[in-house]
Symmetry: C2
Subunit: 250 residues, 2 copies
DNA sequence: GACCTCTGCTGATCCAGATCAGCCCGCACC
DNA sequence: GGTGCGGGCTGATCTGGATCAGCAGAGGTC
């Protein structure tokens, strides 16, 4: 494969597409990325990709499948911080902090490219634009976590659920999965509960309410927006934090 | 002032001290920083430093005083995402995303150094190590937001309060304010309520409970840890996410 | 075919924390 | 010296969501 071909291949990956929304990536940026992107690993459901408290962990770029990052509390309960979908960069903090402050676990079978601490620091030294791009991607993740914080702090259960479903819909559409009408969603009600800070029982009831009021249906692994506008209204959803207007770094 | 003197001055700032925990900063990194650090602006209480939805905003390095970053929901309630103390870098996302997705407001009179979009991108291009350091600082902020998310999702009101007070204590000690016994805290119970996702009434009751059970006293602008170990136990507080073990980038 | 586990679903009851209403104090301001 | 008003503080009441308990179907596995 020639250099040029490699660069074309990587350009089409969801990860590169996401970064390109922020910086115009040079040929050398792309080849550094594609080098990393080649090395694929597979993970099966339930096997931690990153383990809280352990050091020397790698980061990953998700190529296919869904994962979730979460924290376990003394007491056994857990809080899911976010779900990762194809194109997402995960475990950055576990590399920068040497020891991981959270877990990451696949929800479906996952394919991911491993990025070691050495890869990362090396890539930053060689291609500063890439470092800035990763900083941007990390900031976008932080914006999502902040939005989840608002969910838990100030939105009711139904608003939270609506907001979450809309956010996942928007994120998936950005990487070419799903459309305005809905998307395939491999999450169980238990996972939703741990993410939204609710009990599984209550998640079930909220989903029923949303279904019966004709807003949203989540059944058999598929989310359908029955009334997109009403959902946006209910959740106070403003997708500004997800997409930005063209590259900042030319 | 000679180059060397400037470098020495900036090295003692809380901001540089924080970054130095992660990367060994070179002479040129320091001089880029000190250039920015000279330009001080003052803000008084209640005047937004960063305004949600507006574009072309700057970031700031806090030199003195406390600020808070928050989001307003349609409906008027707000959620405080975090408080900023001296040495903190704030508004990074408002620069990287061109338009701000949150507000930042001083809680006490504030002195801060302005960092424009141009400053930031320029500094990154000139000193990649600094870019990595800022990435690290941003990740540390994200780790704090994640911990707040866990607070709201899975901790009871008393646990939340304990966790929050311990976290602020640890952060303040890192920049040389306060000690193991307690610290000066300019927050009102209303601010605490907006940060912890509680009502002000309930904040008051929780504070009384903690006081009466001999764990923590917050009165007249001062937080006193009456039983630090019991607080850590109650909150499940693990300060690993705040301090890391020596520079990663040599 | 018996058994287990996972997930979705439901009713009954309980409780942490919200909401409503109001008092008290210090202090800025005219 | 009245008059706001921003805090802190408190009692009474209400409620969203947790908890407890249990059923049903769909796989998986021996």
């Amino acid at each position: 494969m020639t250099q040029r071909n490699v660069a074309i291949a990587i350009q089409d990956s969801p990860f590169a597409r996401k970064l390109a929304a922020f910086v115009r990536l040079s040929q050398s940026d792309l080849s550094v990325m594609s080098e990393i992107y080649q090395r694929r690993r597979r993970f099966s459901v339930g096997v931690d990709m990153i383990h809280q408290g352990q050091s020397g962990q790698s980061a990953f770029v998700l190529a296919s499948g869904w994962a979730c990052s979460y924290k376990i509390l003394p007491g056994g309960t857990r809080q899911i911080v976010d779900f990762q979908i194809p194109g997402d960069f995960l475990g950055l903090r576990s590399v920068l902090f040497r020891t991981a402050d959270h877990n990451v676990e696949p929800i479906t079978p996952v394919q991911a490219s491993e990025v070691t601490q050495h890869d990362l620091l090396d890539a930053f030294a060689r291609t500063p634009r890439l470092a800035t791009a990763v900083l941007w991607a990390a900031s976008r993740d932080e914006a999502m976590v902040v939005e989840h914080l608002v969910d838990l702090g100030r939105r009711s259960a139904a608003e939270r659920m609506a907001h979450f479903m809309l956010e996942m819909g928007a994120r998936l559409r950005l990487v070419g999965i799903g459309d305005r009408t809905g998307y395939a969603c491999p999450l169980s009600q238990y996972l939703l509960a741990d993410a939204l800070g609710l009990s599984a029982v209550h998640v079930n009831r909220v989903l029923r309410e949303l279904r019966e009021s004709g807003l949203l249906t989540f059944q058999k692994g598929r989310v359908v927006f029955d009334d997109h506008d009403a959902l946006v209204e209910l959740a106070g959803f403003d997708r500004a934090y997800l997409d930005h207007d063209g590259p900042l770094l030319i």
